[in-house]
């Protein structure tokens, strides 16, 4: 506790860890590029400088508050320094603002306006670096990077991955994936949080608006749109409506005006996910097999697990995400109801998420070269389209969604919140386990904003240990605790983005993410309250879907249409280490030294194999390489002899490999 004087006002401080927070508490909007309260303090941009009596100019973000300090935030000196910083940043920055994806939401543009930077005394940068468009979700433009490091820290600290980092030095410094590779070649999980914190257009959501218009204009296509839960409580923000207010009806009106044929609700598919996932959970729970069960709705989490935790892939629910269940149901069954081929139906998802773009492109979700979901647009892209179409969104009358897939229960709607999937599953599991009707549908223990929450749900004597995680760094910690036996759970819900889907990187960009997320979360819980039904099992449209097509939850048909499988995935495209490359050697051997195999001792296998080949005189007959991940992690250590993949290789198999080499050489 203490008191400071900021621009003449007395300001109390308590738990604030730096002067910047105290200044903002005094309702002075001190500018920053590199400060996020949820990330570590970096102090790179120097925009938050203040003058402290007796100490001169200090960066307020990493100066702790002290009792009695006299702080000024607006002096002639500070103004000059800030303007200079902006001018220098702009000297090195692409200035084609009109064509930038982030025009209007760019912090650099905003601050240059606020500080009246009207002239830049330096020429433009003459070297233009190429764009990185390799990722299905994110476009990286190094020419717009101001080196604030926000993306580096969000990826490392919130997601626990570290795809991006600073490379090179001085004037050549840049933020890049390892080895200057492209985002699509490394372990990026496409969560897009880097683009959500990027103050400029250096990292943006990959826009697919043109494809959406093309489909809408194409008369031979029936365009079907699904709207994810978290989208309805975010679109209004862009049109001056209260944050967290659901605008599902207005979105429907706008989409219909734009020329979309049918508008449905992804929450319907979420209800379907609840039914399938609860059934799967209860079966695993009673058999004590593949417990804990992890949720699989979040495509960033799924890719993360495939890359880092192949040993847990059997624990992931085999349920497809609601987006993919929707696409599958529409193309498989609903198209038939309409008397159309799947190619004539064009499914567009509106998602709060950038990773959904990646998910829709996964080959498991294609049937005869035609994807279940043709195109994924983020909330941001939908907003742009509404603006482009000149629709006065705020004054639109709401329209009801189309049937049958426009009908959802509250359980499907709260999927957009962290904890929502767990709560929806518990509402269903309770009735299945206890065979009684659930009266109070609200599970308060599940709700909250913390990155990790756990509790035990008591279903009348049946105790289910539930953990809810958001942020993949938290997920990593939890998985390590489960692995080491420190933690035991039955059901684990993982969402990559802070707060769950409401905090997805496809949502409108804002400077005040945390508060917005909380309002959107409340908005979804209000929607649940407002709706007539709160349990997925009550959804009458679901009942008829099972009757007409799927027979029953967990049936063979349901598995075909609604479930999937996962495989381990390489993190980085790096060439194998060449151990020995004799010319004209007839046999090719790769020993995997990717992390999973490395930890299982593959290096010792490699060494022993090398020695034995040498001893038996086959050294010149084998091209030997140490490979980085053969995507067979569960069966590691892996050795590949020509095209024969051998799993779980131990020392006792090495003579077998040498024998194989011998027979090949003799041939």
């Amino acid at each position: 506790m203490g008191q400071m004087i900021i621009d003449g006002q007395k300001v109390e401080f308590d738990k604030e860890t730096n002067i910047l927070e105290v200044v903002r508490k005094a309702r002075i909007d001190l500018p920053t590029f590199c400060y996020y309260s949820e990330l570590s303090v970096y102090g790179a941009c120097r925009m938050c400088i203040v003058e402290i009596e007796g100490r001169g100019i200090q960066a307020s973000c990493h100066t702790p508050p002290e009792d009695g300090l006299v702080v000024r935030t607006n002096t002639a000196k500070l103004r000059k320094v800030r303007k200079n910083i902006l001018e220098l940043l702009l000297a090195n920055h692409d200035r084609e603002c009109t064509m930038c994806e982030r025009s209007g939401t760019c912090k650099l543009q905003d601050l240059a306006q606020r500080y009246g930077v009207r002239q830049i005394r330096f020429g433009e940068r003459d070297v233009k670096l190429p764009l990185d468009v390799s990722s299905p979700s994110i476009v990286r433009d190094p020419n717009k990077c101001i080196l604030c490091g926000d993306c580096v820290r969000v990826c490392k600290e919130i997601q626990g991955i570290g795809v991006l980092d600073f490379a090179h030095r001085g004037a050549k410094m840049m933020v890049t994936p390892a080895f200057n590779k492209q985002l699509g070649e490394v372990d990026c999980v496409n969560c897009g949080q880097c683009s959500a914190v990027c103050p400029t257009g250096a990292l943006v959501v990959k826009s697919q608006i043109d494809q959406a218009w093309d489909a809408i204009y194409d008369d031979s296509k029936t365009v079907i749109v699904q709207i994810a839960p978290a989208v309805r409580v975010a679109v209004g923000e862009a049109f001056g409506l209260p944050v967290g207010q659901s605008t599902l009806g207005q979105i429907t009106t706008a989409l219909k005006q734009m020329g979309v044929d049918k508008v449905f609700d992804t929450s319907f598919a979420a209800d379907l996910t609840v039914i399938e996932e609860t059934r799967e959970f209860i079966q695993r729970f009673s058999e004590k097999k593949n417990i804990p069960q992890f949720t699989s709705c979040c495509p960033a989490w799924v890719k993360f697990a495939e890359q880092y935790y192949p040993e847990f892939l059997d624990n992931l629910s085999s349920c497809r995400s609601p987006q993919q269940m929707f696409g599958s149901v529409v193309k498989r069954y609903y198209a038939q109801d309409l008397g159309l081929d799947r190619e004539q139906v064009y499914v567009i998802s509106i998602m709060p998420c950038t990773a959904k773009k990646f998910e829709a492109g996964r080959e498991e979700f294609f049937v005869a070269n035609n994807p279940d979901v043709d195109l994924v647009l983020t909330t941001q892209e939908l907003i742009s389209m509404i603006k482009e179409a000149g629709i006065d969104f705020a004054s639109l009358e709401p329209t009801a969604l189309d049937m049958p897939f426009g009908f959802a229960t509250g359980a499907g709607v709260i999927f957009g919140n962290s904890g929502g999937v767990s709560e929806a599953v518990l509402r269903n599991a309770y009735e299945i386990v206890t065979k009684e009707e659930l009266q109070n549908v609200v599970f308060n223990d599940v709700r909250g904003h913390e990155g990790v929450r756990d509790f035990t749900a008591d279903l009348k004597g049946t105790e289910i240990k539930v953990a809810i995680v958001n942020g993949l760094a938290n997920a990593r910690q939890l998985l390590e605790d489960i692995k080491s036996g420190k933690a035991h759970y039955d059901l684990v819900e993982v969402m990559a983005c802070p707060g769950g889907c409401v905090g997805g990187a496809g949502q409108p960009i804002s400077q005040n993410g945390t508060n917005l997320r909380k309002e959107r979360t409340k908005g979804l819980y209000r929607e649940d309250q407002r709706l007539q039904m709160h349990k997925s099992q009550q959804n009458p449209m679901l009942t008829s879907l099972y009757e007409q097509w799927l027979t029953e939850p967990g049936s063979e048909e349901a598995h075909q249409a609604l479930h999937t499988e996962y495989g381990s995935r390489r993190r980085i495209d790096t060439e194998a280490i060449k151990i020995n490359q004799p010319e004209n050697a007839p046999v090719d051997i790769q020993v995997c030294v990717g992390t999973s195999c490395y930890l299982k001792g593959s290096v010792k296998i490699l060494k022993t194999l090398t020695d034995m080949l040498q001893k038996d005189g086959y050294e010149e007959d084998v091209k030997l390489r140490a490979a980085f991940c053969c995507q067979q992690c569960a069966g590691g250590p892996v050795v590949i002899v020509d095209d024969k993949v051998m799993g779980n290789v131990g020392f006792e198999q090495i003579p077998e490999i040498v024998q194989l080499v011998k027979s090949k050489v003799e041939k």
Binding site: K156, I161, G162, V163, L164, D165, F166, A167, H168, R169, T176, P177, A178, F179, N180, V186, R571, I572, T574, E575, A576, I577, K578, I579, N580, Q581, V593, G594, T595, Y598, V603, L606, K607, T610, Q614, A626, F628
Partner: protein, 165 residues
């Protein structure tokens, strides 16, 4: 770019020993990179990925460190490493014309630092501490003082002859 620099038979074995010596912790990164640089004259990408795995770091971070320090190189270097001193004393005595003369002589274009035949690498260094001999160059640690663009021709002639060119 050729990535087939001589990686010897037991490179993984050797690297494991190096890592074991320095400990599998992030703080071991720079000493490990120094050993790899010393042995191979550059840092092969695949070894950096391996080191990242072993030290539990992200490959991007390892790349960041490897590109930050001038002592590390990510490209295979030539047999003869020519360092042109561009410290203040050498600079005022005309080190840049010498640098350009060397590049022209060994036919280096487009900002490349190593010749396609892998024979010569040309780089500038800040100060070799031999200002009395300015302008100075070193070729594989042999020092040549008070060089002129004309002298460069003679020096390279000798080296090329030695290589049978």
């Amino acid at each position: 770019m050729s990535r087939t620099a001589e990686v010897d038979l037991n490179v993984v074995d050797w690297l494991n020993n190096v890592i074991a010596e320095h400990g599998s912790t992030p703080s071991a990164l720079i000493p490990v990179l120094q050993e790899v640089q010393k042995k191979h004259n550059y840092l092969p990408e695949e070894l950096l990925t391996y080191i990242a795995t072993a030290l539990n770091l992200s490959p991007a971070t390892v790349y960041g460190v490897a590109t930050f320090y001038a002592q590390f190189s990510l490209d295979p270097k030539g047999k003869y490493i020519i360092k042109v001193c561009d410290g203040t004393a050498c600079h005022v005595r005309g080190s840049l014309p010498i640098y350009e003369a060397i590049r022209k002589r060994v036919k280096l274009v487009d900002g490349k630092a190593t010749t396609d035949d892998g024979l010569f690498s040309v780089e500038t260094v800040s100060c070799l501490g031999a200002c009395g001999l300015a302008p100075v160059i070193t070729i594989n640690d042999q020092v040549y003082g008070q060089v002129t663009p004309e002298a460069i021709d003679l020096i390279i002639d000798v080296l090329e002859k030695r290589e049978g060119m």
